[in-house]
């Protein structure tokens, strides 16, 4: 197991600014009506924000590789949950 280095405060502030930028993106999509694409933008931005927070604020980048596997596994099972339930609803 490797020791994890400590990120600089500048990295954290940069990630925070990116997160605020993504928030402005969703704000913009709230004011523009683009039909179904709005939902795509919002979910995509939410996903990007979650990835940013997990990698930088929760130290996935500097931790052991097994932490990343566990994180991916959690979202994999979530995908199964939503995906397989969706197959029922989408084919009615």
């Amino acid at each position: 197991m490797i020791a994890h280095p400590v990120s600089t405060a500048k990295t954290y502030i940069f990630v925070w600014l990116s997160l605020l930028g993504l928030l402005l993106l969703t704000l913009g999509s709230a004011f523009l009506s683009l039909g179904a694409f709005n939902a795509v933008i919002n979910v995509g931005v939410a996903f990007a924000k979650a990835i940013l927070v997990m990698i930088f604020f929760m130290h996935l980048r500097s931790g052991h590789y097994i932490l990343r596997i566990v994180a991916i596994a959690g979202f994999f099972w979530l995908a199964i949950l939503i995906g397989l339930t969706f197959t029922d609803f989408a084919t009615r």
Partner: protein
Amino acid sequence: MSDSAAVLIARQYDDAQQQRSAADLGIWVFLATEVLFFGVLFAVYTMTRFNHPEAFASASRLTNITLGSINTAVLLTSSLTMALGVRAAKLGLSRPLVGWLCTTIALGIVFLAIKATEYYLDYGEHLVPGLNFAYAGADRHAVELFFYLYFLTTGLIRCIWSSVSASSRRLPRWHRAAHIVPRTSRRSR
């Protein structure tokens, strides 16, 4: 604060680094279970939205954009202050850690205050399900409220506890990054 004493190592671990890695792995497994726990909520949201898109569209138009965006920004900032607090803990800085934890708690309280205002405004517009609901639509607000408060108060209580114990000199050694701890930390059995 002194660097002389060793980190407390539980009996089953060889060294501080292994203990730290085990703690990290345990937290992440817990987080994966939490993702699934709240994932049920996400699944319900997705299915309901798929089945009733126009209801969701018209209901979301009734939410307060200003308060909601400010709340999101408050949450993101509290993540930043929490990450900076963890960084201070890893560097062994006890007082900045307490400062960042208190800032995170304060931002959490600000979030709750703004949320309370939002719900008060919703109540004024007859959008609170079960109380004076006068709009036929999805009734996920009650569940939302429950989970918001559950999440926030759990996080707040954790921050308060960490802040109290961090200010008592003992905890920063526990959380200090393993590579800063000197090699003499092996406990004799």
